[in-house]
């Protein structure tokens, strides 16, 4: 196929996106590009519009102006069928899991398969069990309801559901927020593993410095409605932009010289 051409083309392309809620301006000209098979992180202070940007990328919200292309499709003026096809090519893991409380974890993971494929139930169950195992959950966890799971298990279950249809692109919203260091390290590993083994492109929002230093290939800093800097953490650490410096010079910032 046109594999070479596809590898060149950016997976996510955001240009001149502006968003406002009434008088409040969230984005005023955001430009971003995510390449195939990279782990891309978006950071920024509270209210910097990270989550809004993510919602715009996954078709939950429309920007007021500017264009967003995901997997080669322009999100503006997308028909219902195209939107559905596109949604099946990406997976989203929400910050609080977004798992359906009335279904077991196993059923949650099988749901996209049941909805969108014509597969038999036993096969769907098998695939769901496999995805849960890949996300690092014990088979017993599958029979439980989301309300009975710990935070770390919820994240893993949510990830398993996001991966149900083998997406090419994965969006993670705060994948390690609220996790103990050990579970967070497990998520770090899982994210890297997914990219290495399946060639997934991963776009995530996070505040977790460990995750940023160890996993992210490139990081974009969002502040004052625009992207203040893009690069690997080491490159960002050398940048002299005030909004970027805040992340490194703050009391919890971590100097590039001493990554764990």
């Amino acid at each position: 196929m046109q594999a070479a051409a596809r590898a060149q083309e950016p997976v996510v392309e955001v240009s001149k996106v502006s968003t406002r809620f009434g008088e409040h301006v969230v984005h005023s000209g955001v430009d971003l590009e995510v390449r195939r098979a990279e782990i891309f992180a978006v950071i920024g202070g509270s209210g910097s519009g990270k989550s809004t940007l993510l919602r715009e990328l996954i078709l939950l919200q429309r920007p007021d102006s500017g264009s967003i292309r995901v997997l080669g499709a322009d999100l503006q003026g997308l028909g219902d069928d195209e939107a559905l096809a596109l949604r099946q090519r990406w997976g989203v893991m929400f910050q609080h899991g977004g798992l359906f409380g009335s279904l077991t974890v196993h059923e949650n993971v099988g749901l996209p398969l049941r909805e969108h494929t014509g597969l038999e139930d036993p096969l769907i169950d098998e695939i769901a069990a496999w995805k849960l195992a890949m996300a690092g959950l014990e088979p017993e966890a599958g029979a439980r309801y989301p309300s009975e799971l710990s935070g770390g298990m919820l994240k893993r279950a949510s990830l398993a559901r996001a991966l149900a249809l083998d997406p090419e692109l994965l969006f993670l919203d705060e994948p390690t927020a609220g996790l103990d260091p050990e579970s967070a390290a497990g998520v770090d590993q899982l994210v890297r593993h997914l990219r290495d083994q399946f060639g997934l492109t991963i776009v995530m929002i996070t505040h977790d410095l460990d995750l940023l230093w160890q996993v992210a290939d490139r990081v974009a800093v969002l502040a004052e409605g625009t992207v203040q800097g893009v690069g690997s953490m080491a490159e960002l650490a050398r940048m002299d932009v005030p909004a970027v410096r805040k992340f490194f010079d703050g009391p919890r910032g971590r100097a590039p010289s001493k990554p764990r």
């Binding site: 096809a85 409380g101 009335s102 597969l119 098998e126 695939i127 195992a133 890949m134 309300s147």
Partner: protein, 374 residues
């Protein structure tokens, strides 16, 4: 067909020793071949060459069924050779194979009818015991408030009186008016046959004041406010607000339950009086239209026919219904566990149980009053 949708997976067998795979072996594409794979067979000891050169796409779902096929054939003693698979697909197949050994969860055996019956009986008993202990806890909270009146929350109570009482006036008024109309209309035919037109005042007065007004008010409030109590408290317990309240040293029963009980204790009798008036008024209008009994005539007969006892009998049921509705609503709210689904279930239960208990209580009142000759 959508241009983005892939060509489905296909499997061909050009010769008995060969399998040719092609198309998209992905979750969206393997629907057609999944069943075919299960029945694919070859004599034991045979050799089978599987050609994967024309597989265009492979994902974990496709790799999983392919892996299952290969494993099964090998277990059956067939020498399977997989060839010409793209290197990235071969790697995926290997990754899938490493984990595929993990057992899928055992199917839960369906329960026998007897076990189900026992389980629901046990759940019913547990629920009854929990309701009783909730009533006890509320009584203790009430005792605490009596001992320390300053702890009573006036503001939520007044708010609840408005929400459950004042705001319910239009619907209560309309429904009891219509009920009065219906009762008079149904009675009119029978009374006219005996020339007993004037006794419509007895019919309306006794039925509305003693039975219908308290009952219709209780049912409306159970649907309107009892459900709201369950949903409010249920949502609060899902979002950990109840736990937060406890840690801040605020007793949820004092803040959430007692004001609601007292609010209904005050609002329900007042609503009942209002329903009495509107119901009788509806009956009066029907009496004039259908039976030619004028308002003056009706009221003169009404005073003779309906004793203050009949009026008080109706009113004195209202506080009992109020307690039932508020307690059941709050109780079901506190029993919410888990998520949104549970809130809905407990809310439904609160209305069903409150309605049931109100009607049971009404029946008990009827028995008691007839024993007392009231």
């Amino acid at each position: 067909m959508n241009p983005l949708s892939p060509a489905p997976a296909t499997i061909a067998r050009p010769t008995p020793q060969e399998l040719a795979l092609s198309g998209s072996w992905t979750a969206l594409g393997i629907g057609g071949v999944a069943a075919q794979l299960g029945v694919l067979a070859a004599p034991a000891g045979a050799e089978l060459a599987v050609d994967g050169a024309r597989i265009e796409a492979l994902d974990t779902a496709g790799a999983l069924i392919l892996h299952k096929l290969l494993t099964r054939l090998r277990d059956e003693g067939i020498a399977v050779q997989l060839r010409a698979l793209r290197p990235e697909f071969a790697r995926l197949l290997e990754v899938v194979g490493q984990r595929a050994a993990s057992p899928s969860p055992a199917a839960v055996a369906p329960e026998s009818g007897l076990a189900g019956l026992g389980r629901s009986a046990a759940a019913g008993l547990e629920q009854a015991a929990a309701l009783l202990s909730f009533v006890g806890a509320s009584a203790l909270a009430l005792a605490g408030c009596v001992a320390h009146p300053a702890r009573f929350r006036w503001r939520p109570m007044l708010f609840n009186i408005r929400a459950a009482g004042f705001d319910a006036l239009p619907i209560v008024g309309l429904l009891s008016f219509l009920l009065g109309v219906v009762v008079a209309y149904q009675g009119a035919d029978q009374l006219r046959q005996y020339g007993a037109n004037i006794f419509v005042a007895d019919l309306i007065g006794l039925s509305m004041l003693r039975e219908f007004a308290p009952l219709i008010v209780a049912l409306i409030v159970a649907g309107r406010s009892g459900s709201a109590y369950a949903a409010q408290i249920g949502t609060m317990s899902v979002t950990e607000e109840i736990d937060a309240m406890r840690t801040l040293g605020i007793a949820p029963l004092e803040l959430l339950v007692l004001p609601k009980i007292f609010a209904l204790l005050i609002a329900l009798p007042l609503l009942t009086v209002f329903a009495d008036v509107l119901g009788v008024f509806g009956g009066m209008i029907m009496a004039r239209a259908q039976l030619g009994v004028g308002f003056d005539e009706f009221l003169v007969r009404f005073v003779k026919a309906v004793s203050p006892t009949a009026y008080l009998v109706g009113i004195c049921k209202a506080p009992v219904f109020a307690v039932i509705i508020a307690v059941v609503g709050c109780f079901q709210g506190f029993r919410t566990k888990g998520g949104a689904d549970s809130v809905g279930r407990q809310t439904t239960l609160s209305v069903v149980q409150a309605t049931f208990l109100v009607i049971v209580a009404d029946a008990l009142f009827s028995i008691a009053f007839s024993a007392l000759d009231l």
